[in-house]
């Protein structure tokens, strides 16, 4: 009797020992990073592009030995671009997978909803594509690799005043965090420079009738109209032309979408808009390689979001490599990153975790997107 108990106990001890060894070994071998992206739903197009870029970066790092011999593993969660889904996704990643760093989310509204949870649990949240100004103040552990709207709206105001010499501008913007953020930044900067905002009009996401807003703008006869919206821009540009408006069109990065140009024909011709530093046709070595590898793997050219996500993973990998795999050291390393040669531009983080990257000016010429200035 006694003997059998001893044997069982010994067996148990050996078993626990092996489990312990095994779990230690596992911890050493895999570096887990969370990623929350819109993989289904209306924004799935962006999410898919992002996931492909992250997968590509992981593949490249792992094939060259990983980070100090440990392989990276990204755990994906789907937020459907909805804040509530994002909140449950980050809770799952923190409590179940115990990741110290999460890439996400893409829409600002989702990032803002997740930020307090990341902050409370001291987990680094690194958004690859949220541009809302509120994220600047979202917390110490919150970073982003997309330029704040303050910079984009401010840049456009500056260019409209100095380069394009406009003095009277109307603004038509989408009534959500994104649209209001850019509008505020633009109006603030343009009025400080001495310009006049003749009228600001807004619209709800997904609406298709902008005639009365445009009629109002037409009455005030501005030199230019600054349009901030997503796919609504198709109907806006179409109705802009139909109603016979003649003002110069100014827009945001969201205008660079082949679908919009295809649907509105030459109504977008000559529109001037701000764009991120990323340029797929660049001759720079890192960018060329990235575009090449992405094309080989997926058959299409990577967009700006793919570039920013690719950089996001590489920056996190660099931070882990330099200072270790826990949230506080990753956070500290990220604040220290200066002039990282990313494919989406030279990347520096300021004291708020905001990225500082160049913004350039582009225009639509013969249905193509052309750079005016770097």
């Amino acid at each position: 009797m006694k003997k059998s108990i001893i044997i069982v106990l010994a067996g148990l001890m050996i078993l626990t020992f092996f489990i312990f060894i095994n779990s230690c070994a596992k911890k050493e071998k895999v570096i887990k990073i969370g990623a929350i992206l819109p993989l289904t739903g209306g924004a799935a197009k962006y999410g898919e592009s992002a996931k492909r870029a992250i997968d590509l970066a992981v593949e490249e790092i792992n094939s060259t030995g990983g980070i100090k011999g440990s392989k990276i593993k990204v755990i994906y969660e789907d937020d459907q671009a909805l804040p509530d889904k994002g909140v449950s996704a980050i809770q799952k990643l923190i409590t179940v997978d115990k990741v110290p760093v999460v890439i996400g989310a893409m829409p600002s509204s989702v990032t803002l909803a997740m930020a307090p949870i990341a902050e409370k649990n001291k987990v680094v949240l690194f958004s690859p594509a949220s541009s809302n100004p509120k994220i600047t103040e979202a917390g110490d552990y919150i970073f982003r690799n997309d330029v704040s709207d303050i910079f984009e709206g401010g840049k456009m105001a500056d260019e409209a005043w100095r380069r394009l010499k406009f003095r009277k501008i109307a603004v038509l913007y989408i009534n959500n965090d994104y649209g209001a953020g850019i509008k505020d930044a633009f109006v603030y900067s343009f009025t400080i420079l001495g310009g006049e905002i003749v009228v600001t009009e807004n619209f709800e996401q997904g609406t298709t009738d902008f005639r009365t807003q445009l009629t109002k703008i037409k009455q005030d006869d501005p030199e230019a109209v600054y349009i901030v919206g997503y796919k609504e821009q198709i109907q806006i540009l179409k109705q802009f032309r139909e109603l016979g408006l003649k003002s110069q069109i100014l827009a945001t990065i969201m205008l660079e979408d082949p679908e919009i140009i295809q649907k509105v024909g030459d109504s977008a011709e000559g529109a001037i808009y701000t764009y991120r530093a990323y340029d797929p046709n660049s001759e720079q070595k890192e960018i060329k390689e990235f575009v090449e590898n992405f094309k080989v793997k997926y058959g299409i050219e990577p967009d700006n979001w793919a570039a920013q996500c690719y950089d996001a993973l590489n920056i996190i990998a660099l931070a882990i490599k330099d200072s270790g795999y826990n949230s506080d050291s990753i956070k500290k390393a990220l604040y220290g990153i200066k002039n990282f040669p990313g494919v989406s531009g030279l990347t520096t983080f300021d004291e708020n975790g905001d990225v500082i990257k160049p913004i350039k000016l582009k225009t639509v010429k013969n249905g193509k997107f052309v750079i005016i200035s770097e």
């Binding site: 619209f203 609406t207 009365t212 009629t215």
Partner: protein
């Protein structure tokens, strides 16, 4: 600019009227909220897209066929789902839930087949609208206004003059009584679905010609259509037309004088006012209780 504002309002009003009339033709006979009407509306646009853009038929051929397909879709829903449920004495609540189910199913089917992005029937060329005393209107918008005038008149004549139209009125007033007096209510309901769905399909196509299509376009249209039906009164076609115009004018003038955030608030504000002070609709008279 005032003329432009009036034109904008009339255009919105015409679309609302088309959707609302299709909805009410069905609603008054079956007396439940036919949610799937929204997807029949959407289907008209997507059938046209399918025939014209994917199969390459001419637009003049594609549109009538798309209307017929939308009409058949409406009849199919009635035949295969509502009718069996009615035979089992299902309550309006069950019918409403089943129609919501059909809506979700078919809308997702459209998303799956065609994708969530914006599709358009028109060519990519955008022209300036026709200039009428400084106001601009496009040919397609003129078509929308004219179509809704013609459709309304035809429908009024149909309901007043034809046998099946009168039978529809009878079933609308009291289905059981109509049955007793020898009217086949199933047949009448089916023709109501045919007419209502055909109208929905037509409205969907016209809207898509003007502002393109997405799989969710139907629900937004239906929401405003239902507001119009309540403002106008279920049983009065002229009331619905006036309701649609009232809504169109109120929304566009609201955007002009207040701000566009208030567009939906204005619509539902009017709805609440009507529900409170004139629940029987625009031209509706107060019902007196009659005891037999």
């Amino acid at each position: 600019m005032l003329l432009q504002l009036i034109l904008n309002s009339v255009i919105s009003g015409s679309i609302y009227a088309l959707v609302a009339i299709g909805f009410t033709v069905i609603y008054r006979t079956v007396k439940f909220f036919h949610f799937a009407h929204a997807v029949v509306f959407t289907s008209g646009a997507y059938f046209t897209f399918l025939f014209h853009k994917l199969f390459g038929f001419s637009i003049y051929f594609s549109i009538p066929f798309a209307i017929i397909f939308a009409l058949l879709l409406g009849c199919l829903i009635e035949k295969s789902i509502y009718k069996p449920l009615r035979k089992k004495q299902a309550s309006s609540m069950i019918l409403l839930l089943s129609s919501l189910g059909i809506y979700i199913l078919l809308q997702n089917l459209i998303s799956m087949v065609f994708g969530d992005d914006t599709k358009s029937i028109r060519t990519g060329i955008v022209k300036e609208g026709i200039n009428i005393f400084g106001a601009r209107i496009t040919p397609i918008q003129i078509t929308i206004i004219i179509t809704s005038i013609i459709i309304t008149t035809l429908l009024l004549l149909f309901l007043k003059k034809t046998k099946i139209g009168k039978a529809m009125q009878a079933v609308a007033n009291d289905a059981e009584l109509a049955n007793i007096s020898g009217i086949n209510s199933d047949r009448v309901i089916l023709s109501a679905f045919a007419i209502g769905s055909g109208l929905a399909g037509l409205a969907g196509i016209l809207v898509a010609l003007d502002v393109d299509m997405t799989p969710t376009m139907g629900m937004n249209a239906l929401m405003m259509g239902v507001v119009v039906v309540i403002i106008g009164g279920v049983n009065s076609i002229p009331g619905i037309v006036c309701g649609a115009l009232l809504l169109g004018f109120a929304q566009n003038f609201g955007v002009w004088y207040i701000s566009s955030q208030w567009k939906d608030a204005i619509a539902f504000g009017i709805l609440i006012l009507f529900l409170l002070f004139k629940p029987e609709g625009f031209f509706g008279k107060k019902m007196r209780k009659v005891s037999v």
